[in-house]
């Protein structure tokens, strides 16, 4: 990989055109592709039709949205890239990477066929050829980033995330580590925002996107669900929902929000609408490397919450009582608002004396 990087000419002015080679043939549900179509800040059509100023011309090759009829017509840019005949490209992987070493003569997933033998080509075959040539590599969704639901305990396919497969120290020809945008599915705006950052970087207009040690964009995943949750006020007052009929804090009925890096409650699901614990849906931690096994059974109280919810109780109950008193006071208008014959607001009409 190092050799490839050194072989790449130094880039000064940035690229005018970029191909996005999107493979969703991992252990995936295509939910991240579908999710991305929900974003309109910016929308996928904004990026593809070039209306976002300063971005390179983007050629999107995604199975679900492809205008082609499929097959070789669709695979042509992927085959060209694998031969080193198409640069630069951003490789987007959706779905976890299965272990094809445990497979005998079979395959867990494939993407097109070997033209010579007619046998299926596995995702892993493509990764081995495309990842070393990619200008940037993006893992969309928790499956591609960390393995996700299909890497659950007891799974037959030995699935893993992209960094587990390529190595956490992988660098693309553009010098970037894998860019992980976790989420199950990815929050639409989180993906498009990160993609546009990478594209601004490709255009030479921005530095590389700032990533944390789990290779997530820092500005999106730097805070916890709880820190952005509008039900956190209930938590502070020790006021917890006993079941799902309640608008209060859900930590005792399964919410993992206090320890999960995700911005959904703060941001909403799309255009500010929807969410998770902010709208009554327990956080099952679907953006996290430990998802899902470290959070199941989902509807049970997280072990840590049993302690913290007990600790907060006396303080919370006391604070809630005091706030109740103040709340009753501030729910009353001042006494000078009336319709009597005399003004009692304290105004002194000196000029009338």
């Amino acid at each position: 990989m190092t050799a490839t990087r050194e072989a790449t000419p130094a880039r000064e002015a940035g690229f005018d055109e970029v191909h996005i080679l999107w493979i969703s043939e991992g252990m995936s549900c295509d939910g991240d592709t579908v999710s991305v179509t929900a974003c309109d800040q910016p929308s996928i059509e904004d990026v593809v039709t070039g209306v976002v100023p300063g971005l390179p011309t983007v050629h999107l090759h995604n199975k679900v949205l492809s205008p082609t009829l499929g097959g070789e017509e669709f695979l042509a840019p992927f085959r060209a890239a694998a031969e080193g005949e198409l640069t630069p490209f951003i490789l987007v992987i959706e779905g976890s990477i299965p272990n094809e070493k445990i497979n005998g003569e079979g395959y867990w997933t494939s993407f097109g066929n070997d033209p010579q033998t007619g046998e299926p080509l596995t995702l892993n075959w493509w990764l081995d050829r495309l990842a070393p040539r990619a200008w940037a590599t993006v893992a969309v969704g928790t499956c591609a980033a960390y393995g996700g639901i299909h890497a659950m305990a007891g799974n037959p396919t030995g699935s893993m995330g992209l960094a587990d497969y390529l190595g956490w120290d992988y660098r693309s020809t553009g010098g970037l580590p894998i860019v992980n945008i976790p989420g199950c599915p990815v929050q639409p705006e989180n993906f498009m925002e990160t993609l546009t950052w990478v594209l601004y970087h490709a255009a030479g207009a921005a530095p590389p996107p700032p990533l944390d040690d789990q290779l997530r964009p820092q500005w999106l995943f730097g805070r916890t669900v709880h820190e952005g949750c509008d039900r956190a006020g209930y938590y502070e007052q020790g006021d917890f929902a006993a079941d799902y009929n309640s608008p209060k804090c859900q930590v005792k009925i399964g919410c993992w929000g206090p320890v999960v890096n995700c911005n959904v409650p703060k941001r909403g699901w799309m255009r500010g609408v929807g969410g998770c614990p902010n709208v009554g849906g327990i956080c099952i931690a679907c953006t996290m490397p430990g998802f899902p096994d470290k959070f199941m059974p989902f509807m049970d109280m997280p072990p840590g919450a049993s302690l913290s919810s007990v600790l907060i109780k006396p303080y919370g109950a006391f604070t809630r009582r005091l706030r109740g008193i103040t709340n009753r006071t501030v729910n009353k208008e001042p006494k000078w608002r009336h319709n009597r014959d005399v003004l009692t607001s304290g105004y002194d009409p000196r000029y009338r004396r």
């Binding site: 929900a38 499929g70 070789e72 997933t109 299909h150 699935s159 799902y244 059974p297």
Partner: protein, 597 residues
């Protein structure tokens, strides 16, 4: 062709050329279609459909807490995952012996209605209609486009496009007006969905026993105002679709044969009526019939049953061409249903999934999809039912059953009437979907847009019922429950693409067995052990071709229209590969019976 009764056409000596499309684009998941094409006779001689993805939900769900099932199974699919969550909580409700509070049922119905409107819209206008857009038709049938330029659109007064070619241009990808508008509508409708189910596509607020969504005037007003924003688009879409599809019948005589197969349809019902549903197996027939989309099996235009118990007991999961070992030697989980009826070893309740990856061999095993069939109680046939992409079978069974009767949607015994109120630009409308002459590609596609209207109309009804409940102070949305040590459950629901069932077995308080059967395993199944092809294979095999391109620049548009009419969704089930429009291999061979080389 086993499942269809068409007589083989009289052929010229066949020269078969292998053509395949793998992966197929503009669908969800991995699908490959492998054909042998007889160009001198303009027909498809043979077809195999294969999916090359296996993740193993039924394997890794074993031993997990049953309450997790809705959260996990949602991840089966990135476009209809909420259908799985819904179906899973239906199955869990049965197993736990609980009933969802009425307000929660209305909220789930509203969420699922928004899912239909969203999903059918994005699939119809942004995925399928690219096959009917100007750019594509110019490429595959230039003479048809020339004719379209001079054919006035009959419903121009509704949608505003003067000619058929103008409509086709509006569907050009990323540029056409309707294409771009549909993307926006798919967002507004997903916002509607998120209001009810938290987030798309994997819901956050759905639980066994109900929902966590707070019923407030704001919730329903926000949904209603968005629904009103899309009604004009929906009315125009029906008119646009009717114009284009009627034009194809007229411009290409015989086009009704594209994607045609015998009428073999399944629909498992959608939208529960909280006044009737109690989730008990024993009363499943009653509450199944009360659903606002009637469940049923239709064979050759006749409704065989509307009873979910019959539907359940008739399910058989066959192997034959799939990468699995058989489970007949395993111990059964459920020998009898709660009514005392025997349950077959090939039934999902008794299935054990034993993956056995192997090489792809079209003469033997070639797909990760199994072959679900429905055993006809009278004829003993294992029917390869299809769902017609979902909407087609839903409208068909609902029309025939003559049960649904609401102010907005009414079944007549031969049609479904859909009433939409006045919207910003267009007056009130009553649309009528009549049972078509054929089960083919065009009618599957046409039904989809009518079902969008159906879902909008039902959503208005559900809103009225929900707001009436709200005003009475009916705010309970969740019913508490205990997970039993041992129980069974089944959920029946209509995913967007059609039949969806979840079969659950609990032992020692944990999942002992869990088998989801979404629509695509039915539609995308390979040949079963009797040699019966799956519906895609059946619909494409022996299909006539109308494309003007010859073997050298053949794109396979008619085949693609046939397969996409089923709205394939392979994460839910199963992988077409065009040899670059080039021949992979030419062979002089007899018309039928040759295997892919």
């Amino acid at each position: 062709m086993t499942a269809t009764d068409r007589a083989p056409a009289v052929e010229k000596p066949g020269q078969l050329i292998e053509m395949s499309w793998d992966p197929i684009t503009r669908i969800v998941g991995n699908l490959g279609i492998y054909t042998k094409i007889d160009f001198p006779n303009q027909r498809v001689a043979e077809c195999h459909s294969t999916s090359s993805l296996f993740r193993g939900y039924s394997v890794f769900m074993r031993g997990k807490d049953p309450r997790d099932a809705g959260f996990i199974t949602s991840r089966i699919c990135g476009i209809c995952g909420d259908n799985h969550t819904t179906c899973s909580i239906y199955a869990q409700n049965m197993a736990y012996g609980i009933k969802t509070p009425p307000m929660a049922e209305w909220i789930i119905n509203l969420g699922e209605a928004a899912e239909y409107i969203f999903d059918h819209t994005i699939f119809q206008d942004n995925l399928i209609f690219v096959d009917f857009c100007e750019a594509m038709v110019k490429d595959t049938n230039p003479s048809v486009l020339a004719r379209a330029e001079n054919t006035p659109a009959p419903h121009a007064d509704v949608h505003g496009y003067r000619t058929i070619a103008d409509i086709m241009r509006s569907f050009n990808p990323f540029e056409g007006e309707t294409y771009k508008q549909a993307l926006k509508v798919s967002r507004i409708t997903r916002e509607m969905f998120c209001l009810m189910e938290g987030r798309h596509v994997h819901p956050s607020t759905l639980y066994p026993g109900g929902v966590g969504t707070m019923p407030t005037p704001t919730l329903f007003t926000d949904y209603l105002s968005r629904l009103l924003q899309v009604l004009d688009f929906v009315k125009k879409s029906v008119a646009l679709n009717d114009d284009v599809f009627d034009f194809f019948y007229e411009a290409l005589p015989g086009y009704e044969e594209v994607g045609r197969r015998r009428v073999l349809l399944g629909c498992w019902g959608a939208f529960q009526d909280p006044a009737v549903v109690d989730y008990r197996y024993e009363s499943m027939n009653a509450w199944g019939k009360a659903m606002y989309v009637t469940p049923g099996v239709v064979v050759d235009g006749r409704l065989v049953t509307t009873d979910l118990v019959d539907i359940n007991l008739g399910m058989r999961i066959l192997l034959g061409s799939s990468y699995y070992e058989d489970w007949v030697g395993e111990e059964p989980f459920v020998t009898h249903d709660p009514l005392g009826n025997p349950v077959d070893m090939r039934h999902p309740w008794n299935q054990t999934t034993l993956p056995a990856p192997g090489k792809r061999d079209f003469g033997d095993k070639y797909s990760w999809v199994m072959s679900p069939r429905w055993l006809h109680p009278e004829t003993g046939e294992h029917l390869a039912l299809d769902t017609g992409g979902g909407a087609y079978a839903r409208l068909y069974t609902t029309a025939l059953a003559d049960i649904v009767d609401t102010p907005y949607v009414r079944s007549t015994g031969h049609s479904v009437q859909i009433h939409l109120p006045r919207s910003h630009q267009l007056p009130e409308q009553t649309l009528e979907w009549r049972i078509p002459l054929w089960s083919n590609a065009i009618e599957r596609d046409r039904a989809r847009v009518y079902f969008i209207a159906y879902a909008c109309a039902m959503a208005l009804y559900f809103l009225e019922r929900a707001m009436a409940g709200l005003r009475r102070g009916d705010l309970k949305v969740f019913q508490d429950f205990e997970v039993p040590d041992a129980a069974i459950g089944v959920g029946f629901h209509e995913a967007v693409r059609g039949v969806l069932s979840h079969h659950l077995v609990i032992r020692d308080g944990m999942i002992a067995n869990y088998h989801p059967y979404p629509p695509t395993p039915w539609n995308g199944s390979p040949r079963d052990r009797f040699g019966t092809p799956g519906p895609y294979e059946d619909a494409i095999q022996d299909m006539p071709l109308f494309e003007e391109n010859g073997p050298d620049d053949f794109r396979g548009i008619d085949i693609m229209r046939a397969v996409r009419s089923f709205d394939p969704c392979l994460p839910c089930g199963v992988h077409m590969y065009l040899g670059g429009g080039r021949t992979l291999q030419q062979a002089h061979s007899p018309m039928f019976g040759a295997s892919h080389g």
